[in-house]
């Protein structure tokens, strides 16, 4: 049985090094509201983004300077995209996907490899639920993209780009459902059921059929899968 633990609650009777815990030398305690699963692994249920090099993030341009762009990545973080590290040019408000190339001691973030995302809306979900939205081998995000015909780009920082092409509002509804029920099992099936139930009628109006489906797993490059404690796709 998995169990929800609160900060300060014992998760192991011996000192262990694992994410979202600390040890007093005798036992190990949770530092965040988390799910402790059968294997003794801790999966946080809420919490802010923690930037790490190689994360692929999504944000929007808030300022343009001679040397590059400020990109809002969700409080309290913004990234700097140097003009040297970006071939494309952007405008104020341009939605971009980019890769984190440096995080310094005071958590200033440098970005590179940016690409613009157009014709869509930016949604924000809790960053700790991003792995769940992507799902095991992209199963969740693929399902949503295919059944809504939307182009979806998920940033590790919690911003999700949802194209207007496709059933935009249904895609958002599915994303919100994943966020709200990330701690439950059998979620991919329930999301698929929701999409099947609602996609039929609405997709007719939404002009974009299945053919328009596109998905981009920006938030989960292969290197990310190594961050074991964050991967809550199996809970």
């Amino acid at each position: 049985m998995s169990k929800i633990v609160v900060p300060g609650e014992v998760v192991s009777d011996k000192p262990e090094r694992m994410a979202y815990t600390f040890s007093d030398g005798q036992k190990t305690y949770a530092t965040a509201l988390s799910l402790l699963n059968e294997e003794g692994k801790l999966v946080p249920l809420e919490g802010p983004y923690e930037p790490i090099v190689e994360d692929v993030v999504v944000g929007y341009v808030t300022d343009i300077r001679f040397t590059g762009y400020n990109v809002e990545l969700g409080e309290p973080f913004s990234g700097f995209l140097s003009s040297r590290d970006s071939r494309a040019t952007f405008r104020l408000g341009s939605i971009v996907q980019a890769r984190v190339i440096n995080v310094d001691e005071v958590k200033s973030i440098d970005l590179a490899d940016a690409r613009g995302l157009e014709g869509g809306w930016l949604e924000h979900i809790s960053p700790v639920k991003v792995p769940r939205l992507i799902g095991k081998r992209n199963s969740m995000i693929n399902t949503i993209a295919q059944m809504t015909g939307c182009n979806l780009v998920v940033g590790r920082n919690g911003y999700v780009f949802v194209s207007f092409a496709g059933n935009h509002s249904l895609a958002i509804e599915a994303i919100r459902m994943v966020e709200a029920q990330a701690h439950t099992t059998g979620l991919t099936d329930r999301v698929a059921a929701l999409l099947r139930e609602k996609a039929g009628a609405k997709n007719m109006n939404a002009q974009a059929g299945m053919a328009g489906a596109q998905v981009n797993m920006a938030g989960m490059p292969t290197s990310q899968m190594a961050r074991g404690q964050d991967d809550n796709s199996q809970m």
Binding site: I4, V6, P7, G8, E9, Y20, F22, Y29, T31, A32, L33, P44, L45, E46, G47, P48, E50, E75, P76, E105, V106, K107, S126, V128, H183
Partner: protein
């Protein structure tokens, strides 16, 4: 307070119990509901006796004003505030009073001990606490609400914090003072405990107690804080089992959980 000119009413019934029928080591009914607000990152409603306290957490976010920020850690700012309609007496003034500023300071300091702020330099974590209905013991209810709201927001913490007051009524130590007992009793000791190791994180005191009474008050408070902690934990767990949308159950009665 309001009754300064009135004479002290009796604080015990003829059967030796307290006016509301409680025994000396009994808490008032307490209900906590976590995640009751949509925009705040974390939130909690605490209904404790007649108190109704709402806490909301934002952050880590940009620290404004800038001169408050630290390159080493997020600054933690708690703000205790009373709504002008919270009291049975006259309409209150809005804006911070000397009392609410002092409480904001000691509550902030209590949480500085447990919040792990080093991961978020140059940012701020804000905890806003609104007293929507006041009875005795609002600061303990405020600390209890703030801890649940912080945990609900996923703010990393070494521990939860639970608070309770121990006072002296008609010569005997009494747990969780009501408003009358607070106004007319001989001593009031609001105490916040770290739930894991029992460290005292907030302590204020007025009135007069002997050395032994202080010792006994701490023991009583610590045992009661564990009961409060169990209700906090239950509230956080229920967020993930309850159905329905996020809503503020302001009509919630103390001692009962919200039913959908």
């Amino acid at each position: 307070m309001t009754g300064a000119s009135k004479s002290k009413p009796p604080l015990l019934r003829e059967d030796g119990k307290r006016l509301d029928g409680r025994s000396f080591d009994e808490l008032r009914p307490l209900s906590i509901e976590a995640r009751v607000l949509n925009d705040a990152a974390g939130s909690a409603l605490v209904v404790w006796g007649k108190n109704k306290i709402l806490a909301g957490v934002f952050g880590p976010r940009e620290c404004i004003p800038r001169h408050d920020e630290s390159p080493y850690r997020a600054v933690l700012r708690c703000r205790y505030n009373m709504a002008p309609f919270c009291s049975l007496e006259e309409h209150g003034r809005s804006g911070p009073s000397r009392r609410s500023q002092e409480l904001s300071k000691v509550i902030s300091e209590a949480f500085e001990n447990v919040v792990i702020a080093e991961s978020y330099p140059k940012s701020a974590i804000d905890v806003f606490i609104d007293v929507l209905q006041s009875d005795g013991g609002t600061r303990c209810a405020a600390v209890t609400a703030a801890a649940v709201a912080l945990a609900d927001a996923g703010i990393p913490m070494k521990d939860m914090v639970a608070a309770v007051a121990v006072g002296k009524v008609e010569g005997k130590l009494a747990l969780d003072l009501s408003k009358e007992e607070d106004n007319w009793g001989e001593s009031d000791n609001p105490i916040a405990f770290a739930s894991r190791n029992g460290e005292v994180l907030l302590y204020q005191m007025d009135g007069q107690l002997t050395r032994d009474e202080i010792d006994q008050a701490m023991t009583m408070g610590k045992a009661a804080a564990q009961k409060v902690h169990a209700i906090q934990t239950d509230a956080l767990r229920r967020v993930y089992t309850r159905a329905g949308e996020v809503a503020l159950p302001l009509s919630l009665k103390p001692g009962e959980a919200r039913s959908e």
